[in-house]
Amino acid sequence: MNRAAALVLTVVTVPVTIWAASPLLTLTERDQDGGTTALGNDISIVDINSVIELKLERTALSEQAVALGAKPLPEGLVVDLKLLSSALEQGAAAIAPLNEAWARFNATRDEKALRSATQVAASAFLSIVQLANTEGFQGEAALRRRRFREALDVAIGAAAKDNLPSGRRLAAYVEVARMHISNMRRELEASAPNGFYIQLGAWVATKAAQRAVHLPGFDVYPEGERFTVERWSITLTEEQRRQLKQMTDLAQSINEKGFAATARAAVKSAAEAILQTSQSALEDATAAIESFRTSASASANSLKTPLDAVVQDITALRDLLAVLRGKYTGSSPASSATSLLEGAVADFQVAAGAVKKLASDVTVLRSQLATEATKGIVAATTLSNALEQAKNALEKALSDKLGILGDSLTGVFGVSRLAEEAMAFGKEVQKLDLASVPEGTLLDLVSTGRREPGDLVVIKLALGGPDGTRNQALTRRFTMHRVLVHLETTVSVLFASPLAKTEVKGPFQAAPSYSVLIRCGSRKHPLVNTLWTPGIGLNLTALNFRHNDTPELGVGVVFSFLRDFVQVGFGYNVFADRAYGFFGLGLPLPNLGGLSGPNASIGGTAGSN
């Protein structure tokens, strides 16, 4: 294994090991509905509007510091602290049920429930009191346990003297345990390893960029823009209004010309636009290269290889575009709409690959040209700029048309939006001494600025030693989705089939429609959020069963899933007094001229943010 691979392996495996042994950081999600979810290692999804509570486990951090070479902690302290903390939680949790059981017993003589609650409370007390057992302990550990026993003995005597009922007695014992834990924590803090520090940071990664976000108490970043992803909005966004208009045109085209003809026209239109733009960009680049070849610096050895590579790429791309032009600007290249679309998408992908290679080689050439430019050679700068413009024009031509495809695949398969190397702790993240580090903080996702489902939130914890070299990190990544119940609006073209005789010719009539869907996501099953996306809701469709150019309102119930690629339902044409069934099939089609918009044949779903 080479050193780089070994380093990567270390970075990846160390946090997992630490986490498994003893959590350094406990994460809890508090959602907008007041629910709380412990974010254990089995959960990698949070609601997009939640607050994440981060709680540092100082004991585990101190242990880690010892593992990094710090002076050992006082004997038995860490173990006792863990045991008593756990027992304390158990005891505290038993108090209320015991009091309730007593109240019920006093009202109804329900002895069974009382015995059960008493049993739980007794077990909790026994857990607490095991820390008062000095047998087999010596030195500091024995003294610490002796002090706890004495405190507990006094509390038991006082509770007996006051003749307290069992619930209040347990509460008194829990309080003694709490005080003992505080004492132990103080002892631990006093012996906190010198020179060891922690850093805690958080980042949000969106499609566009990734940014560090503020963790109160741990950094000096400003708080981000407050942005709540709305849950209950049913109004159409501007983009959806635009899509609705396009859906209306599309439905009309399908009804008049048929689906296959409409799809063919759209593919042809998009292909022509791409080819035209690309051809122009390549001609510009070729002209710039020809001009440069006449300059003196073209003979520089360092430029020969990258220049040849770019020329070769341009030639290959021009040949490819010529083939595509012949294929798409003549008669239809496919016999059916389906094969036409499949073929078009495949061709676009080949073209995108060629553009990507050209862009890569242009980048290499430009770096060499930059060296020449520093020698004052103007031609190098001119060519560099011309190539950059051509590269951008080509990428834009394809991304405008294929961006939707890429987005869809990224959304479904959760392609990483993460550049881990960019997520280093900035100078704004404080190095906090182990003894004085806050016990925790809150990461309010609403205060992290604009984000959308599928974006990531990353939390990192680092522990550093005084020599500056030994540090280990813990990293948790969560994908933000709309997990809580929410409404989503979609616009689409549906195919409605009247259930009784109408003026509709053929089995289906295409019609633009608008749906309001109720949905919720999942914290444990990513595909529920990205692929299955089930939803049910109300569908409004502009029908024309009477075939008289006057729109008729259809109201229906719609079931939608697979990112709204599949929609089925039943509706009622209010004006024509006819029931109808409908379906919609959507594909993540590119922006194909007349079929523009996400999910061209079925409207894209827009969050109501």
């Binding site: 017993f105 006093n106 015995r115 059960s116 008493t118 049993q119 409370a121 007794a122 077990s123 007390f125 026994l126 009191v129 008062a132 026993r149 507990l152 003995d153 038991i156 005597g157 007996a160 003297k161 003749n163 307290l164 009922p165 069992s166 007695r169």
Partner: protein, 129 residues
């Protein structure tokens, strides 16, 4: 000494002693702290257990068997493992009995006889259910 929730078994009348003990264990199910023997240590233990028996409605009770032999026949009727039975025969100071008639804990002569130890005896019996 507090006898609010304590029954002292008679001496020299094993039948009556057993009847009284059976009453608290079998007839009126309680968590029973049975103190054994006589003397200052036993008296102090009985007093402490009585104080920790809780309010009247709580099902904790103390029975003081000054003669362990008198209640032998009852002990054999209880669910108890050999170790605990041996400890009782070898001069234990007390034992606690659960609602299910099981000897849950035995207080040994070497134990530290503080409030914590007595509360543990009660809790071990209560935890048996």
């Amino acid at each position: 000494m507090e006898f609010r929730k304590t029954t002292v078994l008679p001496l020299g009348n094993p039948a009556e002693a057993q009847r009284l003990l059976r009453r608290w264990i079998f007839d009126e199910p309680h968590i029973v702290f049975v103190a054994l023997g006589e003397g200052a240590v036993a008296e102090a233990l009985v007093a402490r257990a009585g104080r920790l028996a809780g309010p009247d409605e709580e099902k904790r009770w103390v029975v003081w068997a000054r003669s362990e032999k008198d209640i032998d026949d009852v002990i054999v009727q209880l669910n108890v493992d050999d170790a605990k039975k041996g400890a009782i025969r070898n001069g234990a100071l007390a034992f606690s009995v659960s609602f299910g008639n099981e000897i849950a804990d035995v207080v040994d002569r070497n134990d530290e006889l503080d409030n914590v130890r007595v509360e543990i005896a009660y809790a071990r019996a209560e935890a048996k259910g």
